[in-house]
């Protein structure tokens, strides 16, 4: 943990009412995300499981749906997002459960920092891991489904979709981590709430891959952006209530 609290003694003595105990907001976010990334780079327990799971899921899909060229183009978007959602759920459960089981969640909450900064820090970590799965799937699906997914707009959709997924996912996972059957509860709680993201991302991807007109996929990307924004705001306001003890 590199979240250090700087205590400027000088300001606290001259202005006793205006104590600046807090680490700058973005420093908290960045150090928490950086901590997650470093822990993952050393342990690799989450990303490995997520990547392996998504490889298996895509293999199963490509066995189960032996399709002709046209049908492959129409289904590849759905396969992409279903796999991201399931693999992401796998990772999310791990990310928060690890914090709680090691007691580091309590330590984080004791730190004199904004609670929402903790939320965004954890969210960025989860976002990057989900994004890793998304981009692995771009390669994998291009090979296995023989559909070219190397399109910059599709990557934008993946970034937006993963952002929305990680935001809501972190919020819901920080609740389900306290429950009795948390591994079971997380997907049940998460999937209904995450649906606006999944629907709009799938629709946008499919419309893009099947090369429909711009006005067929652009509204879905706009909707995705709006949904992301709403969930980011919801996280800001609701996370405080979830973690307060």
């Amino acid at each position: 943990m590199s979240v250090t609290t700087t205590t400027p003694e000088t300001t606290s003595t001259t202005q006793p009412k205006k104590r600046r105990l807090r680490t700058p907001y973005f420093q908290v976010v960045a150090s928490l995300a950086w901590k997650d990334l470093r822990a993952e780079a050393r342990g690799r327990e989450m990303v490995n499981a997520m990547l392996l799971f998504s490889i298996m899921a895509v293999l199963i899909f490509s066995f189960a749906l032996e399709l002709d060229r046209q049908a492959q183009e129409a289904t590849v978007g759905g396969v992409l997002w279903v796999t991201i959602a399931f693999a992401g759920t796998l990772g999310l459960g791990r990310s928060l459960a690890a914090e709680k089981d090691k007691g580091s969640l309590d330590a984080l909450l004791l730190a004199p920092v904004e609670r929402s900064a903790l939320f965004y820090g954890k969210m960025i970590g989860n976002f990057l891991f989900t994004l890793a799965v998304g981009f692995l799937l771009v390669f994998l699906l291009t090979v296995l489904f023989n559909v070219n997914l190397f399109r910059p707009v599709l990557w934008l959709i993946i970034v937006l979709g993963c952002l929305g997924f990680a935001t809501t996912g972190t919020l819901v996972a920080s609740m389900s981590v306290h429950a009795r059957a948390r591994e079971m509860l997380l997907p049940i709680l998460l999937l209904p709430v995450i649906l606006p993201v999944i629907i709009s991302a799938t629709r946008a991807s499919t419309a893009l891959i099947t090369e429909l007109k711009t006005e067929d996929w652009l509204p879905w990307i706009q909707l995705l952006g709006v949904v992301d924004f709403v969930f980011l705001l919801a996280g800001f306001f609701l996370f405080d209530f979830i973690v307060e003890e």
Partner: protein, 240 residues
């Protein structure tokens, strides 16, 4: 807990009113309004369908407000209200889904189709069912109330989606009865509203909203009773 005499009397009157309204709306659906020109007798189920939807919508809005109020005030009564509203909302939306399926069989020639509206309603139902799962999964009562309030706010996004989706998605086949629609082509089972249909529809919606409020009141009383019994049990166990 002892309720004041006047409140109990109000509740009793509300109950009589609900029963009376229900009987009148039943009469209106089956006798006052004639069969619809193209859909015939099947169309009569539409009133119940829409009434149950409005009731569940009102209840989920109540749950949203209760969730926000609980987080603000931390008073237990808001949590009771939220739980009661969501349980009843689940029942009314189930009525809504089942009557919709019965209506769809002759009109769309299928019980169920993955139309945007039907999909979002199913998801809405699942989201609120998950709310009950969340409550069952958390043991600490304070934390349970807090998480339930947060989740009832999150789950409302699915209600919002249900309301909005038939107005933005052009490929839905679900009729939009009230308000503007993006396109009218492709909608199966839409109908022109005669005066009698409109009157019956509005009356049925009003009836269902009144019924849902009455049931909500009873459900809150039931919750209070359960808590009272629980408290007495604890007291007895401590004394024994």
């Amino acid at each position: 807990m002892q309720y004041s005499e006047s409140r109990t009397r109000n509740l009793r009157w509300l109950t009589y009113a609900s029963i009376g309204l229900f009987i009148i709306s039943f009469w209106m659906i089956f006798a006052y309004v004639g069969p619809e020109r193209t859909q015939g007798e099947v169309q009569r189920i539409f009133y119940t369908h829409l009434g149950a939807f409005f009731a569940s919508f009102v209840l989920f809005v109540v749950a949203l407000i209760a969730g926000i109020q609980y987080l603000r005030t931390r008073h237990e009564k808001w949590d009771d209200l939220g739980l009661s509203a969501i349980e009843l909302g689940l029942i009314f939306s189930l009525i809504n889904i089942v009557t919709g399926a019965i209506w769809a069989r002759p009109i769309w020639n299928t019980w169920w189709t993955w139309d945007p509206r039907l999909t979002t309603v199913a998801i809405m139902w699942l989201a609120y069912a998950a709310y009950l799962m969340l409550r069952a999964g958390i043991e600490d009562p304070n934390r349970r109330r807090r998480f339930a309030a947060v989740y009832s706010i999150l789950a409302f996004s699915s209600v919002f989606l249900t309301i909005v989706i038939i107005r933005v998605r052009p490929d839905t086949i679900h009729p939009v009865v009230a308000g503007p629609t993006s396109t009218s082509e492709g909608i199966e089972g839409d109908f022109a509203m005669s005066d009698r249909i409109t009157t019956t529809l509005l009356f049925t919606i009003f009836t269902y909203v009144v019924i849902s409020i009455t049931l909500l009141w009873y459900r809150i009383r039931l919750e209070n009773r359960t808590k009272l019994i629980q408290a007495r049990k604890m007291k007895l166990l401590l004394n024994a």
